[in-house]
């Protein structure tokens, strides 16, 4: 118990040092045999454990509603994957993303100049791997806010609300700051000489969630076969400057999704050490500094995630306690 408590104390100190409010939650992800195979793992894990019964967790402000920025995208991907599994969508059917009216953004199709056509599943991949706003917007149109809400409700996630996509959020920021373009609006928000805000920082006004429900979403995505594509897309996320920076080890998997908007810097990821249970960790930060580039905060998110995950690391064999011991077949000691 104290290990998790100590981690929470460390996390609070790291957050204060970085000049951020932090909302953090971490928990181990119950896993099936196949999913336990981390990169380089050689010992498959058999069986499951009853995670709900006495679940260890690290929680700091884990139930504080927070604007989630792009962290609505994993839930959207989950809802899409269920519709594919139900036969409602064909994952390889084409999505047209004409250049006119496409959502603005710095990455992926949103950053391109000309008309683009991609399959639904490739749009999911771009949305998760590089946070492509254009693909996210097209998928949100396809799935609809109602079905995303139903997916969340179906999993009992009552503290998460997807109210709009990134494209609409960015349009609101332009309106509220009085900027003529997105870059001008973002510069105004980032001016250190003012303490400017936007309703897009306000959990009551925009898409919001809690750190605890973000790790719950990750667990759902990590347990269902229908989410293979979603998980694989998150493993391919292009950035490793936040949670990934806390795990500078080539054999440790970090599959995540970032969320970034002005003062908000978030990431929710599954960290997977070989031969251990994967750990889902969500770190959301609200910075007191308004500047766009804050590598110290990104690094602090890595350090916070490391503290949280370390407190929960459990060799997979131990996690199956009590061991499925069969007389006459001695097991190898856990490594």
């Amino acid at each position: 118990m104290t290990r998790w408590h100590d981690a929470a104390e460390t996390i609070r100190a790291l957050a204060a040092d970085a000049g951020v409010h932090a909302r953090v939650h971490a928990r181990a992800v119950e896993t099936t045999t196949r999913e336990a195979e981390a990169p380089g793992a050689s010992t498959p894990v058999a069986g499951r454990r009853d995670v709900e019964a006495l679940e260890p967790e690290v929680a700091v402000e884990a139930d504080t509603p927070t604007a989630i920025a792009s962290l609505y995208k994993p839930a959207l991907a989950g809802a899409w994957a269920d519709l594919v599994a139900a036969g409602e969508f064909d994952p390889v059917s084409r999505l047209r993303l004409p250049s006119r009216g496409r959502a603005p953004g710095e990455t992926g199709v949103a950053a391109l100049a000309d008309d683009v056509e991609v399959s639904q599943r490739d749009a999911v991949r771009l949305m998760l791997a590089v946070s492509d706003n254009a693909c996210a917007e097209a998928l949100l149109d396809l799935v609809g806010l109602t079905r995303v809400a139903a997916w969340l409700a179906g999993h009992g996630l009552s503290a998460t609300a997807v109210r709009r996509g990134s494209a609409q959020s960015l349009r609101r920021i332009i309106e509220e700051t009085g900027g003529r373009s997105l870059s001008e609006a973002m510069s105004r928000l980032a001016d250190p000489r003012h303490d400017r805000g936007t309703s897009e920082y306000d959990s009551a006004m925009t898409s919001s969630g809690t750190a605890r429900e973000l790790t719950a979403i990750l667990r759902i995505l990590w347990l269902g076969e229908q989410y293979d594509w979603v998980r694989e897309s998150m493993r391919r996320q292009a950035w490793r400057h936040r949670i990934g920076s806390g795990f500078p080890h080539d054999d440790v998997g970090v599959a995540g999704k970032t969320g970034t908007l002005g003062r908000l810097r978030h990431e929710a990821a599954v960290v997977h050490f070989p031969h251990e249970l994967p750990v889902a960790v969500a770190v959301m930060t609200v910075s007191v500094r308004p500047e766009m580039h804050q590598p110290r905060v990104d690094a602090a998110i890595g350090a916070i995630a490391r503290s949280a995950v370390n407190a929960l690391r459990t060799p997979a064999a131990l996690a199956m306690w009590p061991p499925p011991h069969e007389p006459g077949s001695p097991r190898e000691p856990p490594c």
Partner: protein, 274 residues
């Protein structure tokens, strides 16, 4: 002898030049008034009045001593009413970080002149935030940005700053900058280091706990000083310039004291900052 009481007798008789009328005014009988005047004259060793059967007249001594007696009574009355009107004036516990005293220490003088009765509480910004939240400080001027949740905050004020060092012109850029410890205000510290680097400075700093220590390092030529200048035209200078930013914070309602008019104070401090 009660001097003030007898001085009052003297002034009353001198004004009326009639013992009966004076006794009426004083709300007493005539015989004790006459005895009182005699007692006073004996005590002072001076005759104040010439009196015969028909009239009462001031002696030359009485006429000379009358103005001072009036002053004495006037002062006594003023002193009593001052005492009655006296109400405790709340002490304004005004928090300020020592790195801000050089540029904004004048705030204390101005508040004292206004009658706010400020008590300076000089602590690091992050300590002041906690003290303000706990109600140990009424209002504080702190470095911005800091984590300030739970506090009422004023607008952000910026003042341009420049590096100054002993020795040849331009030497400051090569020296580490004397600053308060990073823990005093981590986010503001990091923002300053980034601004130094942006200017071409190495971003190296020497973290020293007190203003006098920082001054000493600058005097010894071991560090550059960050001198905060006049002016606050925030939109005039490019963002990349060195700036020190501050804001006023106040505690939440539950810790405010009734003796301190918080909204008026916040308005006044912001006026002074402007």
């Amino acid at each position: 002898m009660d001097l003030l009481r007898h001085a009052r007798f003297f002034v009353a008789v001198a004004e009326h030049l009639h013992f009966g009328h004076a006794a009426d005014e004083l709300g007493m009988a005539q015989p004790p008034l006459s005895q009182g005047i005699q007692r006073l004259e004996r005590n002072l060793g001076v005759r104040l009045f010439d009196r015969d059967a028909r009239r009462v007249q001031l002696t030359p001594a009485g006429a000379d001593l009358l103005p001072a007696a009036r002053d004495l009574l006037g002062d006594a009355d003023r002193w009593v009413s001052q005492a009655r009107a006296w109400t405790p004036r709340a002490t304004l516990r005004f928090g300020i970080a020592d790195d801000l005293l050089g540029r904004w220490g004048g705030l204390l003088r101005a508040l004292a002149a206004d009658g706010w009765n400020p008590l300076p509480i000089v602590r690091p910004s992050s300590t002041l935030v906690q003290a303000t939240r706990d109600g140990e400080v009424d209002v504080a001027l702190i470095r911005h940005p800091c984590i300030v949740d739970g506090l009422l905050t004023g607008a952000v004020f910026s003042a341009p700053a420049r590096l100054v060092a002993q020795g040849p012109e331009g030497g400051a850029i090569a020296l580490p900058v004397a600053v308060p410890p990073r823990s005093h205000h981590p986010a503001a510290h990091d923002q300053l280091v980034d601004a130094l680097a942006r200017l071409g400075h190495s971003g190296a700093v020497v973290e020293l706990g007190t203003a006098s220590e920082r001054d000493a390092w600058v005097a010894a030529g071991r560090a550059a000083a960050l001198v905060v200048g006049e002016g606050h035209e925030v939109d005039a200078a490019p963002v990349a310039a060195l700036e020190i930013r501050v804001r006023v914070v106040m505690g939440p309602l539950r810790v405010r004291r009734s003796g301190v008019d918080a909204p008026a104070l916040l308005t006044r401090v912001e006026e002074l900052l402007r």
